[in-house]
Symmetry: C2
Subunit: 137 residues, 2 copies
């Protein structure tokens, strides 16, 4: 297969109270913020009309690629292919969470339900649209 490299630059970083992935439930139910580079303030115009966003981020603390993993890191669940799980050990460690928007002020978006640690580089923000983002039927 051809050797193509795709290069992205973070549009911002996550601000969170959590620096380690040891309390997944707590992280997901807490509030955090997306602090974007100020050059993207114009690109946020209109975002307030959406209650939910999809956040894509680079899982910078991924342990690296593993073809097979225990789902949820639970050794009691049999290993299976990493692409059939949400493990961070994927070939390209891109994380995805649907979050609720609490407040937008300038380049700072306060959100709930983001499953990402403090300092995580943000790749993209999309409005959540049921047409594209849930099973079609």
């Amino acid at each position: 297969m051809t050797e193509i490299e795709i290069v992205y630059k973070p549009i911002g970083f996550v601000e969170s109270d959590f620096k380690h992935q040891n309390e997944p439930e707590k992280i997901r139910n807490s509030e955090s913020a997306l602090l974007l580079d100020e050059i993207y303030i114009p690109a946020l115009d209109g975002l307030l009309r959406f209650k939910h966003l999809i956040v894509l981020y680079h899982i910078d603390r991924s342990p690296g690629y593993a073809p097979k993993v225990h789902p949820h890191g639970d050794p009691n669940i049999p290993e299976r292919g990493v692409l059939s799980t949400r493990s961070p050990c994927r070939p390209n460690p891109i994380g995805l969470t649907v979050v609720e928007v609490l407040e937008i002020s300038g380049n700072r978006i306060r959100v709930k339900y983001l499953d990402a640690l403090d300092g995580t580089p943000i790749l993209d923000i999309k409005p959540y649209e049921k047409l594209f983002d849930s099973p079609p039927e």
Copy 2:
């Protein structure tokens, strides 16, 4: 903001009858395939249990970044910030579609509803899980 570069390699490429984005409705409702690099066959183990997948891909034919765009490319809709739309003109042109799995054979996954052109580099495949991928309430 710090200048970090994030480098990904495609895990495969899209096979589709569509090479140009001029019939969005038709593309989305057609069948296509995800042809993965053979090294990822073990990573696909267990994927068959899911009916729907999230596909992340690099929109390689994006016209490039524009802070403001007309939603759906429709000049009759007022421009707004690109991050409040699904336009390809985003800072990091990552596309996302929820697809239906039709068949998996070896390194080839036949799917329906993928909104990507022939030859599009695939970045990641995730099982669609309602808990993470739809609004929490």
